[in-house]
C-alpha cells in the first residue's frame, strides 16, 4: 500500500493539452504515490492514451506541470531522457522491433542507453523473460510468437531498463481472448512486487483485483477517482454509471 509521507512518483498539476484547436486534456490533476497501482478507464477518445503518453513525453503538454520521480518534464532533452530511463511503457500493439530477436529487443536499450555490457544485459534479459514465462523464445523473432507472448516480451523489454514506473496503454485490447489472461497475470505479478503502475484498460476484473485507485476519464477530463470497491459498487458521477453500465453488462 502506498505511504502518504513519501514524495509522489508522479505529479500532474493542472495539465492542459490541445491537438490543434481540439482540447484533448482538460485541467488534469493527479498525484501517484510510489508503489501505487492506478487503472484508468473511460470511453474511446476520452484522452486516456494521451494522458499516459504525456508522462514519458511521447506527447508534450502545453500548460501545467508534470513531475516524474522529481524531474519536471519540459522541452529539455536531458530531462526527457532522465524520465524515460525511469518509466517503462507497454503499448496496445506491442511495438516490438520485428527485425531483432526477442533477446536483442530486450538488450538493445540497456546496452545503448544504460551502457551496460552485453553479457550483463543478456543475463538480465533472460531473467525477465523467465519472469514473464517465455525464456525459451529468446532467439526467435517477434513475428514467430503469439500475440500474448509478444506482449509479455514487451513487458520484459520494458522491465530490462529497471524502471520505477510502468505505463500500460490497453495492453490486452488487441489480443485474442484466450491470451488476455496470461498478460493480465504477468501484470498482476508485477503489481504484487510493488511496481508503480498506471494502466489504461477495460479489464474490470483486473482493476478490482489489482488497482489501488480507479480513474474514470471522459472528454479529456478526470471525472471520478475512487478505490476499486467504491468505484464499481457505488459510482458517483452519472457518466461513470453510464459507462460502467455499458461495459459490465
Amino acid at each position: 500500500m502506498p505511504q502518504d509521507n513519501q514524495k509522489p512518483a508522479i505529479e500532474i498539476i493542472a495539465v492542459n493539452k490541445w491537438f490543434g484547436a481540439f482540447h484533448v486534456l482538460r485541467d488534469i490533476n493527479l498525484s501517484v504515490a510510489p508503489g501505487e497501482r492506478i487503472v484508468i478507464c473511460g470511453p474511446s477518445g476520452s484522452g486516456k492514451s494521451t494522458l499516459i503518453r504525456c508522462i514519458n513525453r511521447l506527447e508534450a503538454h502545453q500548460s501545467g506541470k508534470i513531475i516524474v520521480e522529481g524531474t519536471e518534464l519540459t522541452g529539455d532533452l536531458r530531462k526527457i531522457d532522465e524520465v524515460r530511463r525511469e518509466v517503462g511503457m507497454v503499448f496496445q500493439h506491442f511495438n516490438l522491433f520485428p527485425h531483432l530477436t526477442i533477446l536483442e529487443n530486450c538488450t538493445l536499450a540497456p546496452i545503448e542507453v544504460r551502457k551496460m555490457a552485453r553479457a550483463e544485459a543478456e543475463a538480465i534479459a533472460l531473467h525477465y523473460l523467465g519472469k514473464v514465462h517465455i525464456p525459451e523464445q529468446a532467439h526467435k523473432y517477434p513475428g514467430q510468437l503469439s500475440g500474448g507472448q509478444q506482449q509479455r516480451v514487451a513487458i520484459a523489454r520494458a522491465l530490462c531498463m529497471n524502471p520505477k514506473i510502468m505505463l500500460f496503454d490497453e495492453p490486452t485490447s488487441s489480443l485474442d481472448p484466450e491470451m488476455v489472461k496470461e498478460v493480465l497475470e504477468t501484470m498482476a505479478e508485477l503489481a504484487r512486487e510493488g511496481m508503480t503502475m498506471l494502466c489504461v484498460t477495460h479489464e474490470m476484473g483486473f482493476a478490482r483485483q489489482v488497482a489501488d485507485r480507479v480513474i474514470f476519464m471522459d472528454a479529456g477530463a478526470i471525472v471520478e477517482i475512487n478505490g476499486p470497491e467504491a468505484f464499481f459498487s457505488d459510482p458517483q458521477h452519472e457518466r461513470t454509471k453510464a459507462f460502467l453500465g455499458q461495459i459490465l453488462k
Binding site: 532533452l77 524515460r84 503499448f91 500493439h93 522491433f97 527485425h99
Partner: protein, 385 residues
Amino acid sequence: MPGEPLSATPARAAAFVRQDPAPACPPPPSGQGVFAAIGDNLFGGWRSSMMTIAALALLGLALPPLLRFLIFDAVWSAPDGELCRAPGAGACWAFIARKLPYFAYGSYPIGQRWRVDLTLAFGAALIVWLLWLDAPGRRLAAFLFFFAYPILSFLLLHGAPSFGLPTIDSDLWGGIFVSLLVATVGIVASLPLGILLALGRRSSLPVLSLACAGFIECVRGVPMITVLFMANTMLPLFVPESLAPDRLIRPLIGVALFASAYMAEVVRGGLQAIPKGQFEGAQALGLRALPTLRFIILPQALRHVIPGIVNTFIGLFKDTTLVAIVGIFDFLRTVDSARLDPVWAGPTISATGYVFAALFYFVFCFSMSRYSLFVERRLSRGRDR
C-alpha cells in the same frame, strides 16, 4: 449469468458430433512431377498451347542465325581483320581478344598496368568479403573497403613518386577499370548521401527539409548528361583554378550526386513504411534519435527497399557510360574507338564490339540483381510477420 449453460440441457442433442478423427488424404494427382508441370503450364487449354507454339516458332526463327553468328561462324583467333572480313564470317572474337588490354586499361601505360590489376584484385577481394554475409570480420572488411581502400587505390592508380610509383595522369585512364571506378564511387557514395537526403527531407526543420527536397527535385528534374556537363564546366567556376578538381573527379561528383537524389527517394519510401509505433517503442525505452535510426528504423527501412536500391545501382552502373560525353574513356568508349582501328575494320567488328559490351554490362547487372534476391530471401528467413 445471462442464459443457461449448455450442459444444463442434455435433452437438446447436438445436430452433429464427430466420433472419429478426420483422416489426412493425399492431394489430387495433377501438379506433381516435371512433365505434369510442363503439360499444365505450357499446354493447359488451347490458348496456352497456341502461345507456346508461337513462342517456339519465334525461338526457332531467331536462335539459329544468332548461334551461327556468335559461335559457329565466329572467328576465334586471327592476327588481324583479314579472316573476319571474309564473306559469311560471324563475330570477330579475335578482335576482342586482341583489344582486351585496351578495353581493360585504356591508355594506361603498359608497364604500369600491374597497378590497376592490384587495385582491382584488392577491390574484388574486399567486395567478396563484404558481400559474403557469413564471412568473419565483416566490420574490418567494411573499414578497409570504405576508408583504407580509397586511399590505397588513389596511391596505386594515380601514383606516389615518394614510393617509387610514377604519377599517371588521369587523361590516360580508361576502359573497364574506369567504368568500375565510376560505378563503385557512385554506388558507395549514393547510399549514404541518399539516406542523409531522405532523412533531411523528412526532417521537422523546415529549412533542412526544403533544402533537401529542393536538391532532390532539381537533380531528378534534369537529365544526367546535364548534371555531368554542369559538373564539368561549373565546378571549376566555383573553386580557384589551382584547386579545381581533376578532370575525372568532376564527373565522379556528378554521378554520385545524381544517383544520391534517386537513392533518397527510394530510401524515403522505406522510411514511410515504418509504423509510428517503432519510433515510439524506441523513444519509450529512452533511445535517442540517432540510435533509434541506426538500430531500429534504418535496418527495417532499407530492408523494405532492397529491390529499389539495387534497381538504382543497376541504373547507375549503366549510366556510367554517359561520362564519355565529358571526355572520359570509359569501357564503352574504348570499344567504340577500337572498332575504328583500320587493321581490324570490317562488317562484323561493330556488332562484335557492342555484343561484347552488352555481355559485360549484363553480367554485372544480372549478378547484382541475383545477389539482391539472395539477400532478400536471407533477411526474410524466420522474420515473417
